[in-house]
């Protein structure tokens, strides 16, 4: 113990003169820029998907309805309520948030005598609501994938001259990757007209349990082959993953399930119909609405007969949608399952020509009209009457039926919907096969961003050589002296709707163009052919703007007659399927009621 050792400790006393390092006023001191403090939520961006609740390992988050937040497609109207009696500020909820609406401020002081006060809905009126500083996740959403999984497609060069199916469907690996991205929020279910159990069957893909997946599909939709290919997939527009990445490819996953269950296994999984109950139902039209109703009713034990005017069942699915989007054998497999339920489909039986509606009424307990929209609408512009101007639906039907259609070197299509693209791309294929070149011009009133057709139609159409010209209003079909079509004259569109939102296109007449072509195809809409009803019934039925009026149960004003599908509602296959279920339910109600009486 040297003297030095005794004395050195006292050197510490030099600090007595230093100013204290104490923070003068620590209460409420600003925390660091990225501090994970109290939550904030942007109410407008939040979609109430509940992913934050799912990931919270503390069970701190409840999804609750909030005044002012409306439940609508793609937004559950729920908002997270956080229990600060549970939260640990790990910010996993922020990291996983699908929209990036949930963030954290760097506020951290909350003192209260009431333990129940520590539950709050961020985004309402907390004092730190608009604070800028605080934890924001670095980069984008990383805890669930943002990029859609790759899927094989035929290259434009390989598909341009034939009707082979373009999409290969997911491989198992691709499907698992894609299914893995789903967060199972279930927002899509409300948007799907048929309310399919989307998250559940995606989970089945993830678990590689295709049997379970198929059963889930058939619970709500007997047309999975079809919908797995050509569904308008409105579900994907309300997918939570859409907000900071690609939406989940729900349609392709559906197709993936059906692709992976062989036909015989499907029948096994779906199971047989209930024992016959003695009721007989006639359905006019073997489209998606009619066949879905037929499927449901047959499973309930009814004897169902479907009368189809054309040579094969499927309606627009067969005669409207080109083969490259929906191969006929895929449709056939769906129809086969339906037939296996005991549904009798009688083709080439046009009601009103081959059999009278009255006969149907007499022989059956109920009749469902599912006649669809088979007649194309015309533009009624000068020159549109006469040869060389075709309706898209007619042409498509003829192509499917294998009839010869004229294939000029240049064709003009009027319309910007899926049908317009179907015919444009079909004609392009025929031209390529016949002439080796493509000469299709597609004109539409809308601008590119607002085309009614699916986005991939525009891309793929362009890839296949279709010239897409937006914002053109057709004015006249030009004909030469011989009356042969030479082209279409059009004006530029300045607006489509008037102030009241009514359809009233306005044109810039100075911007006039002539689209050259030996054929003009009108694809601007369809209408139903209701001639089969006969005058008496037409008179007796209630009508609504040219369509047969129906109630929520798809009952017409005649108790024995029901109507479903595009003819009364539209607009696509999945809606027809959803309505098919509903009309079947109504029919069942009616026939069981009759049973009670008799």
């Amino acid at each position: 113990m040297s003297l030095r050792e005794v004395l050195t400790p006292f050197t510490a006393w030099k600090h007595v003169l230093d100013a204290p390092v104490t923070i003068p006023d620590p209460i409420g001191r600003e925390a660091a820029e990225r501090y994970r403090g109290f939550h904030q939520n942007d109410m407008e961006t939040c979609i109430g998907c509940g992913t934050c609740e799912a990931i919270c390992q503390n069970g701190a988050i409840d999804m609750v309805p909030v005044e002012g937040q409306v439940t609508e497609k793609g937004d559950s109207g729920l908002r997270p309520m956080i229990d600060y009696g549970r939260c640990c500020w790990c910010a996993l909820c922020v990291d996983v948030c699908m929209t990036g609406s949930l963030t954290m401020s760097n506020e951290y002081t909350w003192v209260d005598t009431d333990p129940d006060a520590f539950r709050f809905i961020p985004g309402l009126e907390e004092p730190w609501k608009d604070k800028e500083a605080g934890y924001r996740r670095e980069g984008g959403r990383e805890l669930s994938g943002t990029k859609r999984s790759h899927m094989g497609e035929l290259a434009p060069a390989l598909r341009g001259d034939n009707f082979s199916e373009i999409c290969a469907g997911f491989t198992r690996e691709e499907a698992i990757l894609e299914a893995d991205r789903c967060v199972e929020c279930g927002l899509c279910v409300a948007t799907c007209p048929a309310h399919m159990s989307i998250p559940d069957y995606i989970a089945a893909v993830r678990d590689q349990d295709y049997d379970r997946g198929l059963q889930l599909l058939y619970e709500t939709n007997p047309f999975s082959e079809v919908c797995g290919r050509i569904c308008t997939h409105k579900c994907e527009t309300s997918c939570a993953a859409l907000h900071e990445g690609d939406p989940i490819a729900i349609r392709w996953l559906k197709r993936h399930i059906i692709d992976n269950v062989p036909m015989e296994r499907r029948l096994e999984l779906v199971g047989g119909a209930k024992p016959a109950n003695g009721h007989r139902v006639a359905i006019v039209g073997a489209g998606p609405g009619g066949l879905t109703a037929a499927y449901d009713l047959a499973r309930e034990g009814c004897a169902v007969t479907v009368f189809e005017a054309l040579a094969a069942p499927g309606g627009m699915m067969r005669y409207g949608i080109p083969e490259y989007r929906l191969p006929y054998d895929a449709l056939d497999r769906d129809v086969a399952v339906i037939q296996a339920m005991g549904v009798e489909i009688r083709c080439n039986m046009r009601v009103g020509r081959d059999i009278a509606l009255d006969d149907l009424k007499r022989d059956h307990d109920a009749v469902i009209l599912a006649i669809g929209l088979q007649m194309g609408r015309g533009t009624r512009i000068p020159g549109s009457e006469g040869p060389g101007v075709e309706k898209a639906v007619d042409l498509l039907r003829r192509i499917t039926a294998g009839e010869d259609v004229p294939v000029p070197e240049r064709v003009v299509v009027i319309g910007g919907g899926n049908v317009a693209f179907d015919i444009a791309r079909s004609m392009a294929r025929l031209q390529k096969a016949t002439h080796g070149t493509v000469g299709v011009t597609l004109t539409a009133l809308e601008d590119r961003a607002h085309f009614l057709a699916d986005a991939e139609e525009l891309i793929e159409g362009a890839e296949e050589g279709v010239e897409i010209i937006d914002k053109r209003g057709p004015q006249e079909v030009m004909r030469d002296a011989s009356g042969a079509v030479t082209g279409l004259r059009s004006w530029a569109v300045t607006s489509i709707f008037d102030d009241q939102g009514r359809f009233a296109p306005a044109y810039d007449q100075a911007d006039e163009r002539v689209h050259e072509g030996a054929m003009v195809i009108e694809a601007i809409g369809q209408m139903a052919d209701v001639s089969l009803l006969g005058a008496e019934l037409t008179e007796a039925l209630d009508w609504n703007r040219g369509r047969i009026a129906i109630d929520a149960g798809f009952r017409t004003s005649e108790p024995w007659l029901f109507a479903v599908g595009d003819a009364v509602k539209g607009p696509d296959v999945i809606n027809a399927v959803a309505d098919g279920h509903r009309v079947a339910q109504s029919v069942m109600e009616r026939v069981s009621l009759q049973e009670g009486i008799s």
């Binding site: 999804m63 439940t71 559950s76 929020c185 279930g186």
Partner: protein
């Protein structure tokens, strides 16, 4: 490591060697050969450091797995020695004379899994829990959340809504 395994394999009736990394592997040994193996590893092969002793509950198979993790610092090798015990009457062999620290692990295993180690000091004394009356909590058939809910008062008043069901009730209640 593979050489070591080949060397010991027949003498100690070892199972196949399962490498995880270059310096980490696992091997299974019958319960009755354990002491011999551990002693040889410790005294001959330089695995002097008992890193940890713990158990894994393979309830479905009716087994407890005891893992003795042994480390040879000089050679930077770690060997996990696994012993499978019958879950219904799990009795392990006391190793506290080889490593005094093993007594602590064994006390914990007794309390948390119910695996007995006869002869281990203070093995029957309460270690972590106090006044515990239920199943040993680390067993798989003990449900922590259920126990918690049945025991501790929770603050009432929390309700959550499933987005899917909520949207159904709001948008399409009929079907």
């Amino acid at each position: 490591m593979r050489d070591l395994h080949a060397n010991l394999k027949t003498r100690h009736a070892l199972g196949p060697f399962e490498p995880r990394r270059a310096n980490l592997g696992f091997v299974t040994v019958p319960a009755e050969r354990l002491r011999g193996l551990l002693t040889e590893l410790r005294d001959v092969h330089g695995f002097t450091h008992l890193v940890l002793l713990t158990a894994v509950d393979w309830m479905e198979d009716g087994l407890f797995q005891l893992t003795y993790l042994m480390n040879d610092r000089a050679g930077d090798r770690t060997l996990g020695v696994r012993v499978m015990l019958n879950r219904d009457e799990a009795v392990g062999e006391d190793m506290h004379d080889l490593w005094p620290t093993a007594a602590t692990y064994q006390r914990e295993l007794k309390e948390m899994f119910g695996i007995d180690f006869p002869g281990s000091p203070r093995v029957d004394e309460e270690f972590i829990l106090e006044g515990w009356t239920d199943l040993p909590p680390y067993r798989r058939d003990f449900d922590s959340l259920a126990y918690s809910q049945q025991t501790y008062a929770e603050r009432p008043g929390r309700v959550t809504h499933d987005p899917r069901a909520h949207m159904k009730s709001k948008l399409y209640p009929e079907g």
